[in-house]
Amino acid sequence: MNRKRKFLLGSAILVAAIGTLVWTAVRETSAYFMTVDEWAVDPGAHADASLRLAGRVTQGSVQWDPKTLDLAFVLMPIPKGQGGSHEGRRAGETLPIATAEARLPVSYNGILPDMFADGRDVIVEGRVVDGVFHAKSLLTTCPSKYEADKQAPAQEAGGNGSPA
């Protein structure tokens, strides 16, 4: 029995070690994940935090210098009911006017993802400094990998296609 207890103790130590690793890593590497409109409700609340923001690239806001790789654009909320999986659970809810019109300038340096363009949905990771979101990474989420451009054949015939 004594030996068995020793093994249980050893296993418990290992489990505790893994738990500690997870705990500290979560604390130090986590980022708040929200949509632009959720962020806009109280911008001051996440002043210093790491953020992952989901939003849409505002039409006509993209400025890109292919020489320096500097990119600037303005992020806006994704109109409800159109977004992909990052939209959140409240699909039916209408946005308050104030947050629906939230606009957040984003700056980024690097190569543009293939799918980046006006009106695309993106996820940016970084921090807000002086009202500008400094993104260290920029991900485009095509509505989905498998279902992209699903509407194409349907639209030709007046939107009679099937929903995914």
Binding site: K6, F7, P66, K67, L69, S85, E147, A157
Partner: protein
């Protein structure tokens, strides 16, 4: 043809229900005719699903765009090979494909066990058909792959260009085979619990299925990594995306099972644990399917919010409830007859290895679902990214490599000091020497130094095992070295195949560590004639050339590479534009050597000025990862070999003597 397919899946569903009922009833009433009827239903199910797959394939190849699935995932200009891969390129097709693989496995299981496992088989049939019926019910009631449109588009909207890659044609089938075949050991485990025959017969029967499943899970993960590496163009191959994690978790628990099952066979211990691992592995494959189909967790390659989520969640909960219920009911019968005797024993090393593997699976699970949990608990979505997974798993991976060196050679029960010294003196010395060398060469990166040192330790133990085994045969039987080596492996395929897998794993590990720790990266805007240096290479940008066909436009940058002044060749990183989907993609160019990969991305191209931005990575020892994967596959094949040779032997025995030599 779509009507035939539709009819086949509806009939398949009905047949599956019949088979489940007949098998369960037959088992309870001990009615042989009913049990046989259930088995026949399993064959019929396989045939019907086969017909459905053939029908969908026919529709794809004949470009019947009136069928919604065909119109959505293919086009007339899509190459034939990718048209076939469109079979699993969309959600509906992938569900059908999944069911098909399961149906094939079911038929094989039925054939293998015609005259064996009479008590267990009805339950096995019922479990396999239940899982099949669940997948088919989605296709029959929720999302019909044979759905027709009210009009016929002139052209399909094509397969997503990111999926038009050779790795993508083999990655999903491999992974699905790996996923689906976990159902077979699960079914036998459930049957063992149901019948109360809890000896290790079910483990022996499913041993090769487990290895087979592990083989394809390994390949599936590696093919997926290779796809990400050559297609996504960010210089890496693994981003801890939920989709990747979903494929990785069953691999971890399956690896744990492959090890702990040896303890059960040799020492009759860990019975409950093994049951748990088999159930967990199967549940994680369903969970993975749930993750990728539900949109609950956002992923870079999020699939779709398909409304499939609740069905998979429901099925998962059902599976867990039934399994845990059965396990709890039979718990008293699963007592071990032996206990651990010493910390310095193979049992203890294997137990630790299991704890670490399951620990990694848990951290990956936790990191993947963390956004959902934090939203429940605190009302805010908090995500953890790659830094979390890397930080947590780096020390665990190191521990695993250490155990990989210890486990195979430490003595059973209780290792004496003498035997420890005999087994580990040289490996430890080699490990320390390599550690010292990499400290001097590679500098003060703690992880890299420890990782290389431990890998050397693990590789040396394997080397010594082969060496000693070979010397013994040479000395006792007078065999020449190569004969001794091949007979050594041939006579203990499982053991030495396992060692070869360890060598491959160490190589993959070395490749991962080197390519992530010592990666170099540069971005540079270049005019034609401009150069950029990275590591030993100099790259000169010489403008672009273009190619065009009805399917795709290509812009190929001409990058002339030299190494230390000597020309290496011209690399052509591309930008592509797929005309059907109107989607641009990036095709990387890779110059791969054993030492490093030169990985070149055409970041952007400005036609008027002919200037381009190149993104260049130097990934050290990257090739080790892929070669390690090949070695792992080879080792697993050695482990599986007896299955084939035994069968050939029985087949050959039934043939006239003359034909035997010919084969």
């Amino acid at each position: 043809m779509s009507e035939i397919g539709r009819l086949a899946i509806v009939l398949g569903f009905v047949v599956a229900l019949w088979g489940i009922g007949a098998s369960v009833l037959g088992a309870l009433r001990r009615d042989r005719d009913l049990v046989a009827s259930g088995s026949h239903a399993a064959y019929a199910f396989s045939a019907l699903v086969g017909i459905a797959v053939a029908a969908l394939l026919y529709l794809l190849l004949t470009h019947d765009f009136n069928v919604e699935y065909v119109a959505s995932y293919s086009s007339t200009t899509l190459p034939v090979w990718y048209t076939i891969s469109a079979l699993w390129g969309g959600m509906k097709g992938s569900l059908l494909w999944w069911t098909f693989i399961l149906a094939v496995c079911n038929a094989i299981v039925q054939a293998q066990n015609r005259a064996k496992n009479r008590d267990a088989m009805p339950w096995v049939t019922a479990v396999l058909l239940s899982v099949g019926a669940f997948f088919l019910s989605l296709l029959v009631f929720v999302t019909d792959p044979f759905e027709r449109l009210s009009f016929t588009p002139a052209e399909g909207s094509d397969l997503n260009p990111l999926l038009q890659n050779y790795w993508m044609t083999i990655h999903p089938p491999s992974l699905y085979v790996g996923f689906v075949t976990t159902t077979v050991p699960f079914a036998f485990a459930i049957a063992a619990l149901a019948t109360g025959k809890l000896g290790d017969n079910w483990i022996r029967t499913t041993r090769r299925w487990t290895i087979f499943s592990w083989f394809f899970l390994t390949l599936g993960n590696l093919f997926g990594a290779a796809w990400a590496y050559v297609v996504l163009g960010w210089g890496g191959y693994w981003a801890w995306d939920p989709v990747e994690n979903a494929a990785f978790m069953p691999w971890l628990t399956s690896t744990a099972f492959l090890h702990s099952v040896m303890i059960q066979e040799k020492k009759d211990m860990l019975k409950v644990w093994n049951m748990v691992l088999v159930i967990l592995t199967f549940a994680l494959t369903i969970f993975g399917t749930f993750l990728t189909r539900s949109g609950v967790i956002s992923s870079v390659h999020s699939f779709t919010q398909s409304g499939m989520g609740p069905f998979f969640m429901g099925f998962l909960l059902f599976v867990l409830a039934v399994s845990i219920g059965l396990l709890a009911w039979r718990l008293p019968m699963l007592k071990s007859r032996n206990e651990l005797e010493s910390v310095f024993s193979r049992e203890a090393a294997f137990l630790l290895n299991n704890l670490v593997l399951v620990g990694i699976a848990f951290t990956v699970f936790w990191g993947t679902v963390f956004p959902v949990i934090s939203e429940w608990v605190r009302g805010v979505k908090i995500t953890v990214g790659p830094p979390f997974f890397n930080r947590v798993n780096a020390p665990l991976a190191l521990a695993l490599v250490l155990l990989m060196g210890i486990g195979p050679v430490i003595a059973w029960r209780r290792a004496s000091w003498q035997s420890l010294k005999r087994s580990f003196l040289w490996p430890t010395a080699t490990g320390l020497a390599v550690g010292l060398a990499s400290l001097l060469l590679a500098g003060g990166n703690f992880y890299a130094v420890v990782a290389f040192s431990l890998s050397a330790f693990a590789l040396t133990t394997v080397w010594i095992e082969f060496w000693r085994g070979m010397r013994v045969r040479q000395a006792m039987l007078g065999e020449p070295a190569w004969t001794a080596l091949s007979r050594l492996v041939g006579k203990n395929r499982r053991r030495y195949g396992g060692y070869v897998v360890h060598v491959g794993t160490a190589m993959v590990f070395i490749g991962i560590v080197a390519s992530s720790v010592f990666k170099l990266e540069k971005q540079q805007g270049l005019e034609p004639g401009g150069t950029v240096d990275i590591g030993p290479y100099t790259l000169r940008y010489d403008g672009v050339r273009t190619e065009s066909d009805p399917h795709v436009d290509k812009t190929l940058a001409q990058v002339f590479v030299t190494r230390g002044g000597k020309p290496v060749g011209t690399l052509e990183p591309e930008k592509r534009f797929y005309k059907r989907t109107k989607q641009p993609t990036t095709e990387v160019a890779i110059w791969s050597t054993l030492g490093s990969d030169l990985y070149v991305v055409l970041g952007s191209y400005d036609a008027p000025s002919k200037s381009a931005v190149l993104q260049v990575f130097l990934n050290p020892l990257m090739a080790w990862m892929w070669l390690g994967g090949v070695v792992m596959a080879l080792g697993t094949a050695i482990c599986m070999w007896p299955a084939w040779s035994e069968r050939t032997a029985t087949v050959a025995a039934g043939l006239p003597a003359g034909t035997r030599t010919a084969s």
